[in-house]
Amino acid sequence: MALRPGRRPDAAVASRSSRILGRGAGRSAAIALASTVVVFTAITLIVVNSPGWPEFKASFLNWDEVKVWFPDIARHFWVNVKLFMVCEAVILVFALGIAILRSLPGPVLFPFRLMAIVYTDLFRGVPTILVVVMLGLGVPSLQLSGVPTSELFWGGVALILVYSAYVAEVYRAGIESVHPSQEAAARSLGLSRLQALRFVIVPQAVRRVIPPLLNDFIGLQKDTALVAIIGPVEAFRQADIAQAADFNFTPYLCAAALFVLITIPLARFTDWLVARDRRRQFAGQG
């Protein structure tokens, strides 16, 4: 990090903004506030005065519907929560395996690299909803004894397969970002190739990819709603049922609120991790 002494980045930003506004920060804050109020008031007025607003309000923002359906939807949201908790744990391990398989060197191990490449290409390419339907309705129709017929199980497997392909690529990017000299140094200390991977490269790689990893998990949390298509009633499906029962779209808003409620803490946690990593990485420099 090459910072010139006596000139912190925020100082540079501050001096530039004062050059544009020409006055103190208090005045620019007041203008920002006024402008925000005007723009948002204008947007609100346009929406509220639109010809369809009364009907829209009754269909999408109906408090009575919230009161009737929110408890049911929240209860079924627990299915989503359980599903992504289990899936995330499995994906973390499974995807790392794929990424390591793909990073293995040498011509002898080429078939394994090929398998990993085909896997990631295939499952990143097929729409998640198709994987869910094919596994959820397809595998049970084989009627193999001992194979679970639970849709929730197969929906979970589908999500794991799809998201592991993404997460494996994230891991691989992390592994490849570790400088080759690290492996060389580890090998020169007498560590085997696998030991070097285990003790030197993977720990550094994983630490680097935690933010994009959590980003994929936010995606996964939302995609648990796709499992509804093969039968289980979760938050989205319960909202669907409510919508058809009452001809009202407000229940969808309830489900959306629950998903946002759970992804925002994870998003902030990711931000915090990134900030902490940066502090640690650049501690003592400057």
């Binding site: 009907e55 049970p140 129709s141 009633v233 049922i241 009452d246």
Partner: protein, 299 residues
């Protein structure tokens, strides 16, 4: 300099925003609906989507035995039935209503409308919509329903060799894993009337739900009785009807869906009432749904 331009611009934006729309809102409330009579219920007088034509919406696929014309027009594929064929229970009811209103068959236009879109806010792309839609509260706050043209029981379809095939009461089904198609009153009937021990499953379409039944993922499928009959006996397969029962709050009353405050409602009701009193509606029911009488009733 730049600020001086932007500030009035913002003020102007606000002014436009507060003005726009307000003139067009709520100017359609003029006059209450006139009482229906033969004179007012004519293609010339009726305010339809396209003047002189009656646009009727239904879903795609349009299923037997409600539409049985076979694939055609927009309705292609395995389960599809072309509504222009005038074959099947709902199909003939729709043409019957159109005739009573004075429309010839070629003045009737059919429109593919997914169920969810039939009650979405905003302008409708149909004058009438029919796809086994049950009239119940609070649905009637969002759309208008005609007087009912059919009363449907619910039924449970099972595999022939299932332990539930010989159920004699609703209590016998309590231990079964049941499924229904989403956005049907059948799901509500499972929850309210049978109250099974296991969580009911919900599927996007009747065909997916039937697949799940055949896979053994559910023990029984709840559907409207005529649909059950079609699934179990018309399409080949090892399925049977375990029994029929009244849904939550009695039988389902199917009505034609119209836009809330539709000027057509009084005329459509009048047409349906005429079809009822003349026996025409009963004839159509007899013709297309007559085989359905024999299935045990579960209490």
């Amino acid at each position: 300099m730049r600020r001086m331009v932007i500030a009035p611009l913002l003020v102007a934006l606000l002014a436009v925003a507060s003005a726009c729309g307000s003139s067009t809102a709520n100017d359609s409330s003029a006059g209450s609906a006139p009482s229906a009579s033969a004179a007012t219920c004519t293609p010339e007088k009726l305010q339809t989507l396209s003047p002189g034509k009656l646009t009727i919406g239904t879903s795609n696929p349009a299923f037997s035995p409600y539409f049985t014309g076979g694939p055609g027009h927009e309705w292609k594929g395995q389960f599809n039935n072309d509504p222009y064929a005038d074959k099947g229970f709902e199909n003939t009811v729709a043409y019957g209503v159109a005739e009573k209103l004075g429309y010839t068959p070629d003045q009737v236009t059919w429109q593919v409308t997914p169920f969810g879109k039939s009650f979405a806010p905003g302008p409708k792309d149909f004058d009438l919509y029919l796809a086994q839609v049950t009239d119940k509260s609070p649905r009637d706050q969002r759309v208008d329903f005609s007087v009912p043209y059919y009363q449907a029981n619910q039924a449970i379809v099972v595999k022939k060799d299932s332990q539930y095939a010989h159920a004699t009461s609703l209590a016998d089904l309590k231990g079964a894993t049941l499924g229904a198609e989403v956005s049907t009153t059948s799901y509500q009937a499972i929850q309210d009337v049978i109250q099974p021990d296991n969580e009911a499953k919900v599927y996007n379409s009747t065909s997916q739900a039937t697949q799940a039944l055949e896979n053994g993922q559910i023990d029984g499928l709840a559907v409207d009785f005529p649909t059950a009959y079609y699934i179990a006996y018309v399409e080949p397969g090892g399925l049977a009807i375990a029994g029929q029962f009244s849904g939550a709050g009695g039988e389902d009353q199917w009505g034609l869906v119209m836009e809330k405050g539709s000027p057509l409602k009084t005329c459509v009701d009048r047409a349906l009432n005429e079809m009822k009193s003349s026996g025409e509606l009963a004839e159509l029911e007899q013709k297309w749904l007559s085989d359905l009488a024999d299935a045990p009733t579960l209490q």
